[in-house]
Amino acid sequence: MSKYLDLSIKEINELLKNKTIKPLDLVNEAFERIESSNLNAFITLNKEEALKEAKELENKEIDNILFGIPVAIKDNIVTKGLRTTAASHILDDFDPIYDAEVVRKIKDSHMIIIGKTNMDEFAMGSTGETSYFGNTLNPWDNTMVPGGSSSGSAAAVSARLVPIALGTDTGGSIRQPSSFCGTVGLKPTYGRVSRYGLIAFASSLDQIGPITRNVIDNALMLNVIAGRDDKDLTSSYEDVTDYTSLIGKDIKNLKIAVPDFYMSDAIDKEVRNKVTNIIDMLKKAGCTVHSISMKYVENAIPLYQVIALGEASSNLARYDGVKYGYVTSEYKDIEQLYKMTRYEGFGREVKRRLMIGSYILSGKNADKYYRKALIVRKKLTDEFKDVLSKYDLIIGPTNTDSAYPLGTKQDDALKSFYDDLLTIPVNMAGLPAMSLPIGFKNGMPVGMHIIGNYFKEEVIYQLASYIEKELNLNLDPRGDK
């Protein structure tokens, strides 16, 4: 088996340019690896189209660094003519009639879509276990959760099945699995990447972003997908920069804040120690690092439950068995058609969240819970803005701990929320943030959280590239193969 997919994007690009390899070699290698993998990282493969596309590219000029690179797409991003399920029974035969804007951009860059990755159903979960298609396995230890909801994207990149995958992040769904699988995952600023064609979960929190093996590949992918899109009215007019521009640049003048909440007793001690070691490293490199306190971050869980579930109950009302998707055979009238279709089509986690969301937005509760949550969201966001007016970046752990065994507390309705304790505040404020691998705990990867200012993703990449180079970790779960 060839090993081109073990190389960086830049190295692969060189080999393509000097005609040592063709895009077809990369595509064949990706499918060989996927087909011999036991991770269940993909729901649908795009083999026929991918092979066709690779052959067509042989007659095209290599016009950008991502030309011919295989990419995997999370299965809640629609792909024309390629089944898109959101890992739900209710969409298990859904055949989209248009491409998401990010997919259009990927195709314009002549990247090759290999398949659609496994995930928690409708991105609701933090372990991959709520997928209708069975859970994804963690490449570092198959008995451990890969994290979620972008489980398949993180696992596929970590196991080197593909060099790049897209994930989506509503409360931590790019960063948390990246932390558990040892990949670099970035949630861009809200509005930086078009959500057109993303199957909506919570529209004011959702954002698409890249998951890669290293920092520069991540920035290269953000270069492709970032930018204004008239089809998404929340898409920003802010100029797009070259996100690789600060990679490798001196970090000595960076001012960094560490919220004490992110280093509290709620976080595993070994994880905290890893972050402390990085803080020491950054101080030695000349960065200013201060411990700060933030008052509103601790309200992340109830805030998320009200806002994300409220929005979800509205967004998922569209799955009614009429326009597309699964339809029950047990109905006498339209009400029963809705109720039975949704009862049979959605999994337990989704149904639980929809009931809570509908309840929160009903009658007097809208004022009691939803309006109050929007005020707390404002306070939390103002607090972040204040910190980021004094500091360039905020750092801490991505998660409270490293990956835990599959099947842990599956009946605990609060578990999946608490996994996102440190990542949710970032979605509330709409800030960009990355999870970067910084070491291992008992052989499982540990991720560090780097939160940046609005539309300043390049500064996150600047710091991340420094830490990545200094640590020089072996992030191949297959050992020295």
Partner: protein
Amino acid sequence: MLSKEEIDHVAELARLHVDDSEYELYGKQLYDILSEIEKIESVDVEGETKIMISPCTNINEYSNDSIGPMLSKEDILKNVKHSNGDYIVVPTVINE
């Protein structure tokens, strides 16, 4: 625990059927989540009254009032399970 009536109420709001075997599990799980949510009520917001619905800072986004590309009937009906070729077929909605 949430009572059967309370579960039926929230399930009705979400247009979900609940099987008899699920009441006990949902009763506990929904109670746990709602207890967590109650915490939002006691957060001190220091007199703040302004809300934030979305981090989006775009102001007054309007679409042009012009005809753009449209989907074909075939595309629209492509994923419909019950159709007569021109329309989506659903059970009768209006009682005579």
